[in-house]
């Protein structure tokens, strides 16, 4: 069992009537990684997570956690799992501490000194009623609930909602420590910046379909740079067609703008041949790359 991946999603499809929330989605998340799960609102992230948790049942396909089937072994899975739902709801008439005690009692075997340690790290006030909490304070309780039993797999759905930057930092540190101990974190978000700093790999999902799974380090390497070239005379953008590493060249008057990756030499060769006057470069950050995944693309580009 130790050999099985942390989470496997196997051809998962979830339909609500005619609407397909998740469409034939397959994913494998290995142990010991922080896996980012990115997509716009309504892409099917929460539906996927709720299927893994057995809160909803797949129309087709299946999910496994630590090699256990999400339908038949749901209770056993939850023994090893920490979960923070999106838009967390708790019992307004219980204090933070009573809430944690309740869930700790249901779970059994939770070390309450760990709870105190986490509360301190997040600067969480556990003595007031949840109904009086701000959304950030409620979220802190949710994070404590997800991590208090040192679970092998943690699934977090939009975890940083309402958290201030200091707490976000504490949370990122905690995640990294947790993974360093051999555990796995599955981190769903609609903002790249949340995932960028911590994730080892990211998956992009849109309209229920998996668009891409990338290693974060490769994604950063892939990030393109933009160059603006100034010529003495108008130069057609087509002059850069087929030049190695150059994408999306456009011309406007005597100016040509293009994006490039890798070495600059081939681009410079063509530019010099046209008597380039000046050159400015800027990097295209991950956000822009990310937005590309978000935007509609021709159906052919959507590969699982």
């Amino acid at each position: 069992m130790t050999e099985s991946p942390a989470i496997e999603v196997d051809h998962l499809t979830k339909k609500y009537g005619n609407f397909t929330a998740v469409d034939d989605l397959s994913l494998t998340i290995e142990r010991g990684e922080i896996f980012g799960f990115l997509g716009p609102n309504g892409a099917g992230k929460s539906t996927t997570i709720r299927s893994i948790l057995d809160l909803i049942r797949p129309t087709l396909g299946s999910c496994r956690v630590l090699g256990l089937d999400s339908r038949t072994d749901a209770v056993e899975i939850r023994r090893h799992l920490g979960f923070l739902p999106a838009d967390l709801a708790l019992y307004p008439n219980l204090t933070g501490r009573r809430t944690i005690e309740y869930l700790a009692n249901l779970r059994g075997g939770v070390d309450m000194t760990r709870v105190d340690e986490l509360a301190e790290r997040f600067d969480a006030d556990l003595d007031r009623k949840v109904g009086e909490y701000s959304s950030g304070n409620r979220q802190k309780v949710g994070l404590i609930l997800a991590f208090m039993h040192r679970p092998q797999v943690v699934i977090l759905d939009e975890p940083i909602t309402g958290l201030d930057p200091l707490v976000q930092l504490a949370f990122h540190t905690l995640m990294k420590e947790h993974v360093a101990e051999g555990n796995t974190v599955f981190l769903s978000s609609h903002t790249l910046s949340e995932v960028e700093r911590v994730a080892d790999r990211v998956a992009f999902i849109r309209r229920g379909k998996l668009i891409a799974v990338e290693r974060m380090s490769e994604l950063q390497e892939k990030s393109l740079r933009r160059v603006t070239l100034e010529f003495p005379q108008p130069v057609a953008a087509s002059a850069f067609d087929g030049v190695e590493g150059v994408h999306d060249a456009t011309s406007e008057g005597t100016q040509v703008t293009a994006r490039y990756e890798g070495a600059m030499a081939p681009l410079l060769a063509v530019a010099t041949a046209n008597g380039v006057l000046s050159l400015t470069t800027a990097s295209v950050d991950l956000d822009e790359l990310f937005l590309e995944y978000y935007r509609e693309s021709p159906a052919g580009n959507e590969a699982a």
């Binding site: 948790l53 049942r57 979960f83 739902p85």
Partner: protein, 550 residues
């Protein structure tokens, strides 16, 4: 006035009011239909003694249709409109704060006074419109059945009922506007409504207290017999002045206070708990919000309501004994000579005997209503976890769905038993201390059968919650089984030709054998428990097989 606020407020509640009106129409139709099939009832009415006629609120001249109409205006319609009126009133302003939508509403560049006026206008439209529609539907029901109601002044009865219900409803509206606390608004108004109903009905029966009922607004629904005598404008004027003053006061208070956001307001119990002197007592009644286990929490979530309801039932059950002694001389023994059909029509309540008195006043309506409040709430609780989206956190822990549903079911059974035990204790204490001499095993039988009836209401709500996950649907179904079952048994049961139909009602199985007189009805008990078990299993299985909400 803000047109869009007005229209949205009306639209939001139109369905609820519509369902209430349709339910009233069906009850009136069914009752008139069943009554019209009973021969010779009018003659027997004429022979009833005055005290008895007064007690039952019948107008002697108007026959069976008049009895049905006074039931509709004085009881069924009053409770349906009162319930709708209070829940709509409490939610009008305070509901927006509870839901957090006041934050959005308050940012529009309009004054709070105009917001209040728009909400009030929508409220009046709904309650007055609903009341008028209900009365029109009674007329329609009479035409469909062919009952003669030409001597009855439905319009006058509507004016009286509507005005009285506006007093309770606007009270909830005003408290909600003044405090922003929806639960407090509906709690106070509902409490007053119930006290009024009991006080206006029971106090005048006691010698020397004939006029005591007049302090309760409820009395004025039919105190002047508007069905026969038309509108008493003096009464209407005073009552209208009362609700107008309440409305204006609520509006003024709203303009001066801080608006609340979300469910952050502190309840009375919270504030009492802050004082160490009271904390222990508050925790005992309300439940300390036990977090030991699923079952302990499920029980303590509902403990406050259940204890209050069961304790109320207990006190009332004791109180009924001295009431009977005070009344016994006035009622006499006329009932012996009354034919079954007529006896059935007045609720089978042979008020000349202690058992008949308790059957009519405790077991037929009040008891089942209290059980329904407790058990339907406990049954719905399964879906409440989904509505509040707390189920995601619960099922993040290693517990099965079956054990979540099982915990809610256990709480339902425990709370039903609690009410049953207190009902037994109350009747037994009353009977013993006031010398009514009722048989203790029969009292136990009655309490057991009533508890089984209550369990069935709760099981119906639980099954719906388990199968659908919708808490409002579950509450409607549980309440529907209770009210529908009562109506079928009460109105259809009177016609011997339709007795088979009455067997569809769980009330028939719980009360049909007069347990206080005849002891336990094992068949009836078995039917109720079997039906509850089937529903519980359905809900339990359904909960494990579907997608959870939230």
């Amino acid at each position: 006035m803000l047109r869009s606020v007005y229209l949205k407020s009306v639209r939001d509640r139109l369905l609820g009011v519509g369902v209430g009106v349709v339910a009233l129409f069906l009850t009136a139709w069914m009752g008139l239909w069943a009554y019209s099939g009973v021969d010779g009832a009018d003659t027997y009415f004429a022979s009833l003694p005055d005290a008895y006629v007064d007690l039952l609120g019948i107008t002697r001249e108007s026959g069976t249709a008049g009895l049905m109409m006074s039931m509709m205006f004085g009881f069924m319609g009053a409770f349906v409109l009162g319930g709708l009126g209070i829940s709509m009133g409490a939610a009008a302003i305070a509901g927006e704060e509870h839901e957090g939508t006041m934050n959005v509403l308050a940012t529009i560049p309009r004054s709070r006074a105009r917001l209040h006026a728009s909400k009030a206008a929508a409220y009046l439209t709904l309650l007055i419109g609903g009341s008028a529609a209900a009365s029109a539907s009674y007329w329609l029901a009479a035409q469909l059945v062919g009952s003669d109601i030409s001597t009855l002044n439905l319009a006058a009865a509507t004016v009286h009922l509507t005005t009285v219900m506006l007093v309770y409803g606007i009270m909830a509206f005003a408290i909600g506007a003044a405090t922003g606390n929806r639960a407090r608004a509906s709690g106070i108004a509902t409490g007053l409504l119930i006290i009024s109903f009991l006080g206006a009905g029971l106090l005048p029966m006691i010698d020397g207290w004939e006029d005591a009922g007049k302090i309760f607004p409820w009395y004025y629904i039919d105190g002047a017999s508007p069905l026969v005598n038309g509108v008493d404008w003096a009464q209407i004027g005073v009552l209208t002045a009362v609700w107008v003053v309440l409305l204006v006061a609520g509006g003024l208070a709203l303009s001066r206070r801080d608006l609340l956001a979300g469910a952050a307001s502190r309840s009375l119990a919270d504030r009492l708990r802050d004082n160490p002197k009271y904390a222990a007592y508050v925790d005992k009644v309300r439940g300390s919000g036990s977090t030991k286990s699923l079952a302990a929490k499920a029980l303590s979530d509902k403990q406050g309501v259940a204890l209050l309801a069961a304790y109320g039932l207990f006190v009332l059950a004791i109180f009924m004994a001295p009431m009977f002694n005070a009344l016994a001389d006035n009622i006499g023994t006329v009932v012996d000579s009354m034919p079954d059909a007529v006896l059935a029509m007045v609720g089978f309540a042979d008020y000349s005997t202690p058992t008949g008195w308790y059957h009519g006043e405790m077991l037929s309506i009040t008891g089942p209503a209290v059980f329904a409040i407790v058990t339907v709430g406990a049954g719905v609780a399964l879906a409440t976890e989904e509505k509040r989206r707390t189920i995601g956190v619960i099922l993040g822990a290693p517990v099965s769905r079956g054990s979540v549903a099982g915990a809610k079911l256990t709480a339902l059974v425990e709370l039903t038993a609690l009410c049953g035990i207190l009902l037994f204790g109350g009747i037994w204490l009353g009977s013993t201390f006031f010398g009514l001499g009722m048989d203790v095993s029969n009292i136990a039988a009655a309490a057991t059968q009533l508890a089984a009836l209550g369990l069935l209401f709760g099981a119906a709500a639980f099954a719906t919650a388990g199968l659908s996950g919708r808490s409002s649907t579950a509450a409607w179904v549980g309440t529907g089984v209770a009210v529908g079952g009562w109506a079928i048994n009460t109105f259809v049961g009177v016609n011997p030709d339709l007795e088979w139909f009455a067997k569809l009602s769980p009330f028939h199985w719980a009360l049909g054998n007069y347990p206080l007189d005849n002891g336990i009805n094992w068949t009836g008990l078995a039917v109720l428990l079997a039906a509850s078990a089937v529903l519980a299993i359905l809900g339990w299985l359904g909960y494990q097989r579907r997608d959870l909400r939230g």
